[in-house]
Amino acid sequence: MNNRDVTKSRPGAPVPSGGQGETPMIGAMSNDPPEPPARTLGEAEGAASRRRADLIFRWLATGSGIAVVLSIALIGIFLLIQSVPSLAANKASFLFSAEFLTTDPANLRFGIRDLLAVTVLSSAFALLLAMPVALGIALFLTHYAPAGLRRPLAYVIDVLAAVPSIVYGLWGFLVLGPALVPFAEWLNQSLSWFPLFATGNVSIAGGGTIFTAGIVLAIMILPIITALTRDAFRQTPARHIEGALALGATRWEMIRTTVLPFGRSAYVGASMLGLGRALGETVAVLIILRTSASASGFSLFDGGYTFASKIASAASEFSQPLPTGAYIAAGLVLFVLTFVVNAIGRAIAGEKVRG
């Protein structure tokens, strides 16, 4: 910092952009190292410039923190502002209509009923598949795998998270979907009395069903649930584990009485975060799911669009404000949905889950 002009200007030290909140920081000032008493003029100047440098640095840090908070607020505000005109011009019920007609700006008819149904069904199915497997993997990686192999094996699971979602989409669409067709047809034929396995609105033979998409989503959210649950399981107090073993518990009994109760909240919280990921997954679902003319019947063999895939599918046609606003309204609903799911997940998991 330059030393010349600062002796008197400390109260006016520059505040970086984004700094509206001055008040919350006052309390933290006491944490600073004490300022040495000024003796000569030169030293006093040095001390003042130090104070100024400290202030600038503090404000840069605080400003960045505030920027993060602001960005979330801005996301909500901007999506809301730009969807309001379209919602006002909407001629169908936004919540209960299955139509999504935006080609004619003068006659907008859009509703999120089917988007919500497909989104929730595919994500819930994915979660149902992923939760038990993730629990098993987390236990395997913390208490069953040989100690020397735990790190490399955990890394293998992390590779699943590193694969881009578009590659999952390709694989699900071109490889897994066709491979699952016989199994899906068998499920449909033998269990069609059960609503989830009823014949849906797209052909099972094409593979582009919620069934395929849900399985791919399950694979995609496996690593995050596993990683967070594993971290929590690893924190189980050694005294508890050793106590259980000393009392003669088998490995499974030890896990049931110490590890699972300790990590349960983190496991449920991590699963909620996984659910949030599945709800917002875009491109894999966009590639896999076939579109359908008829409405969703809440069957796993339906096709259709999720919120995210609907928005992405129309992305190249965003030009006029009113039709675009319809998709932004759908995006707002998705944002609120994931916000709530994530917040609940964090609240359940408490301090044990960071990631």
Binding site: A61, V68, V163, S165, T324, I328, T338
Partner: protein, 303 residues
């Protein structure tokens, strides 16, 4: 203990350690098998997916023009051309994103670890958590609403980078925060005791100690955003030829190229789809590998 003597003197009728009953043994074995199966089950899609991509993509990426040419003037059914324009796009968009997200992310982490107290710090922590859960399509829509609709700028690679910033920021903050918390307080206190101001302590003592972990985190964050598809679908047009200008015009990226070639029914299109997928995985793995190497060669010694 009056009974002890008589008990000790009596001959033991049964051993002090009972054998584990059959039912408990079975349950234990059952759990072991299930847990191991769960792990093996997860390996199936991973292996299947990687093998599929490598087998199908190998032919494309080993053609002579793959790494050095674009698809400019290449017919849809022609096995020719390459993806260097898309690789450039993917890398440049991620790097511009990193240039914005890394400083903000590191400063946010510094705030949370070194300064943050009270309500604001709690809010920031919470919002970072929420931001990490924001779907990429929502981030893309937000940038569309802000940058393109409200400010009137055209679609460009820069807009993509802005959307990626929102996705990268929480990853950088998390990893940096974790690393800064590993730096022992004694180092800070020793620095304060020598009269070093707080900001200089952070810049000269805390950050260098945590540097390798932070670099690892940033590398992983770049790898994560590189594969994002939703922002490029919404915020930039596709181009079959190279465009070096991130501020203007259409620009290809590997995910966008895949989405476009998916609509190409020719065999050459399929080839390019798998080739681009393999290239993308290799690129992501490269950044992951660099991250792993950096963290291996220098790690924070916390104790």
């Amino acid at each position: 203990m009056t009974t002890t003597d008589s008990l000790v003197d009596r001959p033991a009728t049964s051993p002090a350690f009972q054998p584990i009953s059959g039912g408990r043994k079975t349950k234990n074995l059952f759990a072991t098998v299930l847990v191991t199966l769960a792990f093996l089950l997860a390996l199936v899609p991973l292996g299947w997916l990687l093998v599929t991509v490598v087998v199908n993509g190998f032919e494309a990426i080993t053609t002579s023009t793959w790494w050095s040419h674009s698809l400019k003037g290449v017919m849809p059914d022609e096995v020719n051309g390459g993806v260097y324009h898309a690789i450039y796009g993917s890398v440049i968009q991620s790097l511009i994103c990193a240039i914005i997200a890394v400083p903000v992310g590191i400063f946010t982490a510094i705030y949370l670890v070194e300064y943050g107290r009270g309500k604001l710090a709690k809010t920031v922590t919470f919002m970072v958590d929420i931001l990490s859960g924001v779907p990429s399509i929502v981030a893309a829509l937000f940038i569309f609403a802000l940058w393109i609709t409200a400010f009137g700028f055209p679609k460009s690679a820069l807009a993509v980078s802005f959307a990626l910033v929102l996705l990268m920021l929480p990853v950088v903050v998390r990893s940096t925060e974790e690393m800064l918390r590993l730096v022992p307080d004694q180092l800070r206190e020793a620095s304060y005791a020598l009269g070093v101001p707080k900001w200089k302590t952070i810049v000269r003592v805390v950050l260098p100690t945590a540097m390798s972990g932070m670099v690892t985190g940033v590398m992983l964050a770049i790898a994560r955003v590189m594969g994002e598809t939703a922002p490029v679908l919404v915020l930039v047009g596709y181009s079959r030829s190279i465009n070096f200008d991130a501020f203007d015009g259409n620009m290809a990226s590997l995910p966008l190229l895949i989405m476009n070639e998916l609509m190409n029914p020719e065999a050459a299109g399929q080839l390019r789809v798998w080739g681009a997928a393999l290239t993308l995985i290799l690129l992501v793995m490269l950044f992951n590998l660099v991250a792993a190497l950096v963290s291996r060669f220098s790690a924070v010694r916390s104790k």
